[in-house]
């Protein structure tokens, strides 16, 4: 069994008096793809934002053995944690290449050159469009750029928030293929998805979130076979997801 990379213990997150996430615990090990599935508003995005330091939380979050309490977003990035947020947060008026270069802001120039090659190999589309402004890219390309920018910083754990949101099925398939490939490259992934079927197919382990708490967790295959999950997330209303 490989070492624990991210450990979230008994974490609660509140917006004012409303508790959006209630004492959840989660683990991601090295070279593992872990997914959190759940309906809209379950608290998945909130949890990712708290792990990244965008939102305050109560509980213990440690990464690679280091307690993250009191660390800013920028310190967490330096520790090897990276988030591709739901809204991507690209630099819209800057070129694809500039976006990627800034992704490598805190790493040495020599390593950045290798990162460029790796990212362009994963996303050949970005190489074709490297002079184009990020804001003029299609939705799928923007998602690729957001992931590419995060990978430029050579993270040890990549957290992806709804990477398939609003994208055409073919592009979603591409994106999931690349997420699968990241594991081979030594990057662990924590994936938040509403597209439960696709997420459970590539993940090693899964957590099911409902109303701010995990109701189930275990190997992804077991979760995918759980009758409650089949009924709520993989059932008829999600038939569109089968295109993936």
């Amino acid at each position: 069994m490989s070492a624990t990379l991210l450990s979230v213990a008994d974490t609660s997150i509140s917006y004012g008096k409303v508790e959006a996430v209630r004492s959840v615990s989660l683990e991601v090990k090295a070279n593992e793809i872990v997914t959190i599935v759940g309906a809209n508003g379950a608290g998945k995005t909130t949890l990712l934002n708290a792990i990244m330091g965008i939102l305050p939380q109560h509980g213990r979050i440690s990464f690679n053995g280091q307690d993250l309490a009191g660390l800013d977003i920028e310190d967490r990035v330096a520790a090897g944690l990276s988030l591709v947020p739901e809204h991507r947060e690209l630099f819209g008026t800057m070129s694809v290449e500039d976006n990627l270069q800034l992704g490598a802001f805190r790493i040495a120039k020599a390593t950045a050159a290798q990162s460029f090659e790796r990212v362009y190999a994963l996303f050949p589309r970005l190489k074709e469009r490297r002079q184009q402004l990020a804001g003029t890219l299609s939705g799928g390309e923007q998602q690729m750029l957001a992931m590419g920018r995060a990978l430029m910083g050579e993270p040890r754990l990549l957290m992806l928030d709804e990477p398939s949101l609003g994208l055409a099925p073919l592009i979603v398939a591409d994106i999931f293929k690349i997420i699968g490939a990241l594991r081979a490259a030594g990057v662990s992934v924590l994936l938040v998805e509403q597209n439960a079927k696709a997420a459970l197919q590539i993940a090693d382990r899964a957590y099911v979130m409902e109303l701010g708490a995990f109701i189930l967790h275990g190997p992804a295959a077991d979760i995918a076979a759980d009758p409650r999950v089949v009924a709520s997330y993989l059932g008829f209303q999600h038939a569109g997801a089968s295109a993936v």
Partner: protein
């Protein structure tokens, strides 16, 4: 500014001949170039930190009057202020990092906040009165104001960087008032003038261009090109743009908001000080003159919507020329006319732009 001198004889007839027309245009462009620099600095600081930089005027005054004081062979009080502000900034840095005190971070804070202003002060004390070399005096003035700009951000704005634009604006007004008060202490209520950088003059037909105007054009153009190169071709320049475009995105790639803010304030203070040093040979500056000059740069920045650099530069030239002509035709209403320019612009902008929610960090 410079128009005042030639005006007395022109005012009698108020008829515009070619000589006066060319003079007014030249005067307008000279002032406009300076407003352009100030406007660009305001846009830069606002885009990166959301601070509306009211103390820009004090950077102008401090730069100009430090230069004039040095030229008179004395040590400007601003050099001491920089040391005191550096001490406070160092205290802030140590307090902020108290939980994880690394030797390297501590050394960096010590070098930037203590060693830098102390060295500048010692150099100033040693060089003041001993020599009267214009480039040396300019360099010293710029270093002093750069240090003040950097520490001002660290002390007044970095701790509240995540609050609303309104809170930042109130802090900005506070800084302006405090620094203006210090200006009165350091430089007195009397106005000062500094030596010109160039005394040469070129005459083309009816047009006489003073060397100082040429220096203004040259330095403005050089600074604009330098800023463009910095923003388009260097990693830190791009990081600053990234912070301006998307603050959260910038933080997610590890660009510290505080680093971007410090660079923005450093650039703004140096630009302000350069503007002051360019003006002070043409016109007498008082401890509070910088505010009005800075406000004219602000008018240009507002016309540019606080986001567009080219629009701001063009608007600054318009402001300069409007000012020159209104000081000829209606010199009593000169300032009124210039500042009234804002109103139609704001009306047009508010009609054209959709309502935006205030961005919070």
């Amino acid at each position: 500014m410079a128009a005042k001198r030639g005006r007395a004889d022109a005012e009698g007839g108020r008829s515009l001949n070619t000589t006066i027309l060319l003079f007014l245009i030249q005067d307008g462009i000279t002032n406009g170039a300076i407003y352009a620099l100030l406007g660009l600095a305001l846009v830069l600081v606002f885009a990166v930190t959301r601070v509306i930089l009211i103390p820009q005027g004090e950077f102008i005054t401090y730069g100009a009057l430090s230069y004039a004081t040095l030229a008179a062979g004395q040590v400007p009080g601003t050099a001491r202020l920089a040391v005191v502000m550096g001490l406070v900034a160092f205290g802030f840095d140590v307090f902020a990092a108290r939980k994880s005190l690394h030797a390297r971070a501590l050394l960096r804070a010590f070098t930037v906040n203590i060693v830098f202003p102390v060295v500048v002060l010692l150099l100033t004390m040693w060089l003041a009165g001993r020599q009267n070399n214009i480039p040396v005096n300019i360099t010293l003035s710029l270093l002093i104001v750069a240090a003040i700009g950097l520490f001002l951000y660290r002390i007044a704005f970095q701790p509240i960087a995540h609050t609303s634009v309104l809170v930042l604006l109130i802090a900005s007004v506070g800084c302006h008032l405090a620094m203006q008060g210090f200006g009165l202490v350091f430089f007195g209520a009397e106005g000062l003038r500094g030596p010109t950088i160039s005394d040469a003059a070129i005459t083309i037909g009816d047009l006489r261009i003073s060397g100082q105007s040429l220096v203004v054009y040259g330095i403005t153009a050089a600074l604009i090109i330098a800023l463009w190169l910095f923003f388009d071709f260097t990693l830190y320049g791009k990081a600053l743009r990234a912070t301006a475009v998307n603050r959260l995105g910038a933080r997610l790639v590890g660009i510290r908001t505080s680093l971007s803010g410090q660079i923005a304030f450093l650039l703004a203070s140096v630009i302000g000080a350069i503007s002051g040093i360019l003006i002070v040979p043409i016109t007498t500056l008082y401890y509070d003159t910088g505010f009005i000059v800075g406000l004219k740069g602000f008018v240009a920045a507002i016309i540019g919507g606080l986001i567009s650099y080219p629009l701001t530069a063009v608007a600054a030239l318009v402001v300069g020329i409007v000012e020159a002509f209104s000081s000829f035709y209606a010199s009593n209403y000169k300032e009124v006319i210039v500042f009234t320019l804002i109103i139609p612009v704001l009306v047009l902008r508010s009609l054209a732009a959709p309502e935006v929610e205030e961005e919070k960090d």
